[in-house]
Amino acid sequence: MLQINDVHAGYGNLKILRGVNMQVPTGGIVTLLGGNGTGKSTLLKAVSGLIPLMEGEVLFDGVGLSGMKPHERMRLGLVQVTQAKEAYPAMTVEENLVLGAYTRRDRAAAAVDLERVYEFFPVLRERRKQLSGTLSGGEVQMLVIGRGLMAKPKMLMLDEPSAALAPKVVLEIFSNINRIAKTGVTILVVEQNVRMALILAQYGYIIRDGVIMMEGEAKKLISDPAVKESFLGGSVANSSKALRK
Amino acid sequence: MRILNKMFAGVVAAGIGITATAAFADDIRVGITMRMVSENGQAYGQMMMDEIKGINESGGINGNMIKATLMNDECKSDKGVANANKMVFQEKVHLLIGSSCSSVTLPIVDVTAKAGVPQLVPHSTNSKITQKGSEWIFRVPVSGRYYGGVNAKYVGENIGTKIAYICAADAASVGDCANMEKQMKARFGVEPAYRADVQEKEVDFRSHMQKIKSMDVDGILVAALAETMARALVQSYEAGIGEDVRRIGSSSASNAPVPKIAGDAAKGVFFTAAYAAADQRPIAKLFNEMVKTRYGIHAPDHDFSQAYDLVRIMEIALKNTNFTGSLADDRTAIRDAIANVQGYEGLASGPISFCAAATPQCRDGNRTAVLIGYTKGGENFETEVLARVTMEPDFGLE
């Protein structure tokens, strides 16, 4: 569904991605793992069109995305779920969700989808008139995922859904992501929480210094001694540090 | 003889840039220094030269020609004094005319007093000009000491004494307000019913108007520059202050933007001046027509009329002068001839008379101001003469 071929990208003269190759097959859950500053977020921005590519190409459903504006990519069904802190705190839960359906013309179907999101996340229905700034961390994460679903995605890209959440809440979020995948939405999860992400996903990529360092079946990666030793340990430390914040 | 003289004069003029003769011959030399920066100033300076030329063409002064020199002082006192010195001492004029700005005229008074040259003032209203005690000074326009009094007299006698004051912060309006207040107190013993000192370019008078409305005053003095005055007038009607409360304008009320911007709100506003374009006398009508055709000015104000009257008074005085050929004697003779001008009736708001004593009572020639009211506002505004008020000669003197 998503094909990333030799992508180079960055900001101004600073090149961060130096030839990334990735594939996300239709209907699966793929995870992109890496620590801070490895290029994960830059890759997401490049795919969703917030920054231009320096080299390479991105194909979605076989369509080249270069030159397309973010909202045009979104109309194709390629939807990025922002980080939880990027909900609009001064808008109500419902306004945030409605905003997710901004590009859609089918109002009636969007209303049905709103109901579906509320069924998915009953807590959002309870809080629909509340400003999203008043929600808990887990609730905001549900909100941004729900907002992504409102765009009627073929593929959802999630940017660190576990960030700054308690382990119990992370589990809840990830099970919800799994439920979404079962409805036929292709998922790309960008994560630092390597262990949880590899349990969720079928396939994983590990990025470091702007290149894919390792890739493979999630089951194999999780038991790979190299990952365990050089990467997994550190990242667990990272995520627990994040938890303490 | 005359041709020779002219040639001689030309030679001298080539050297010093002015016309001059060694001794009295046929020409009467007149020097004029005025502010000629505005279009208006240019036009009335030109008008004086044209009128003098007219006198010469119709036979001159008992056969003698007037040689006039017009200089620009830009309303700056240093330039005005330099002009006066040049004309008095180098050009040796018989008579000096100037200036149109009080700040320039005041120091020139000392120059002419010292040199013994008669000086005619065309358009300076500062009352101190004639209070210096010079025997050589004659003022054609209405002195500033009369203005506030004319307004106050008319208002107190015809409108009432309960007056609200709106005084903007520009110099002219501050003075107009102070004069009016002083005269109302002196004449009728009243203080302002309300007084608001507003900013020079105030835009919102509504609170003041509301307050004035609740006070049931007889009149409102609006002392401000033209645009500010217009806004205040409009807002006074918006506030619901009726037409029965008269609006009194300060000296800026004669400016065309007032009726133009204020529109209907200008109707009924009146102010004091020394000449009214609405003057119905044939001489005034002719004058308006002349100014319009020759200089393209729609409605001449008192700057114009006074410049014109001055030339006529000069003509009368010169015709009554016995020239002897001695410059000092001739200057004295001209001075005495001007002092003998009695009851001159020209364009001015009232008769102009001088007398021999070196006092303001004798030398402020015009003691009659005219009150002008707008009868129609807008682009094609119209005015009427409400009253002429003549003051006692020593009015306003301390």
């Binding site: 905003l99 | 609170s207 217009a230």
Partner: protein
């Protein structure tokens, strides 16, 4: 002599009626600031152009006053959008994305202000023009104590409040309004929501300039129209925006009314000859005790 409560009431009422006009100009400044992070120094000129457009429509074209008002708003909105698109956007782009705070933008705003004043000089000349509007069909309002509020002030207050209500409805209850708020909050996320951000920025500019124009047309019949009228209004509206909290829309309105009332009371009870100072006195007082303004947007939330 007892205290005159009727006068006090009158000063407050007139303060409010002029204050709402400051408020709608401040609303535009706040809208642009929250949407584009630009402090728009040429906004006073939008107000001035609005007044002239209204004047031309009402006097030269001869349309009724309400239509002149709407027409002036539309024309000024288009002018504002053109100015943003042609001049400001280059600068904002150079700053990365659609936001740039900094010297370049401030100087550009001042420059635009001077340029627009000169364009207006060229077209309409320096003389003040009377703006006559027939408002007799609007009733006068009477308050206790024989305070009558004239038609034009009633109209000003009603239209200002209506515009604020319309803007509120637009921002809170329409999809486009939601998108405008999203863009104002964070342009990158707005992009990810599929919002056409450049279009929304044009819309924000158009709305803000349209509001300024409305203020110009409303003030015109009271104060006459002149090319240099924008400067003072800009200062007052700025004071209003800062007092209310820069970037806060309800704050802009409250700030406007506060400035209007405060300067009227100052003129009445302290001295009328320095009326323009009171707006800034209020500004200093508010900044001393609440630097973010009364309803100031928390900087962290904005970022």
């Amino acid at each position: 002599m007892g205290f005159d409560y009727n006068s006090l009431l009158a000063f407050i009422i007139f303060g409010v009626t002029i204050g709402v006009v400051y408020g709608i100009v401040a609303l535009g400044i706040s809208l642009i600031y929250s949407g584009l992070d630009i402090v728009h120094f040429a906004h006073g000129e939008m107000y001035m152009f609005g007044a002239f457009f209204g004047l031309v429509l009402a006097h030269n074209v001869g349309v009724p006053y309400p239509i002149a008002l709407i027409g002036a708003m539309v024309l000024t909105a288009l002018l504002g959008m053109a100015v943003e698109r042609v001049f400001y956007r280059r600068l904002t782009r150079a700053g990365g994305g659609y936001t740039v705070a900094g010297m370049g933008m401030i100087i550009c705003g001042f420059g635009m202000s001077v340029a627009l004043v000169n364009v207006a000089y060229f077209i309409w000349g320096a003389e003040a023009e009377p703006f006559r509007a027939n408002l007799d069909y609007i009733p006068r309002l009477s308050f206790p104590g024989d305070i009558e509020v004239p038609e034009s002030y009633v109209l000003t207050a009603i239209i200002s409040v209506a515009l604020m209500a319309a803007l509120h409805y637009f921002l809170r209850h329409t999809k486009t309004g939601l998108a405008v708020r999203a863009v104002a909050h964070n342009k990158d996320i707005a992009y990810l929501m599929g919002i056409n951000v450049p279009l929304m920025i044009s819309l924000i500019f158009g709305l803000a300039c349209g509001l300024g124009a409305a203020a110009g047309v409303l003030i015109g019949p009271m104060q006459s129209v002149q090319v240099e009228m924008g400067y003072l209004m800009l200062m007052k509206a700025f004071a209003a925006a800062v007092v209310g909290g820069f970037g806060s829309l309800p704050g802009a309105i409250i700030g406007g009314i506060m400035v209007g009332v405060f300067e009227n009371l100052g003129a009445a009870y302290i001295s009328a000859s320095h009326k323009d100072i009171y707006a800034f006195l209020l500004l200093i007082l508010v900044l001393m005790f609440k630097p973010s303004g009364l309803l100031g947007v928390d900087a962290k939330v904005k970022a």
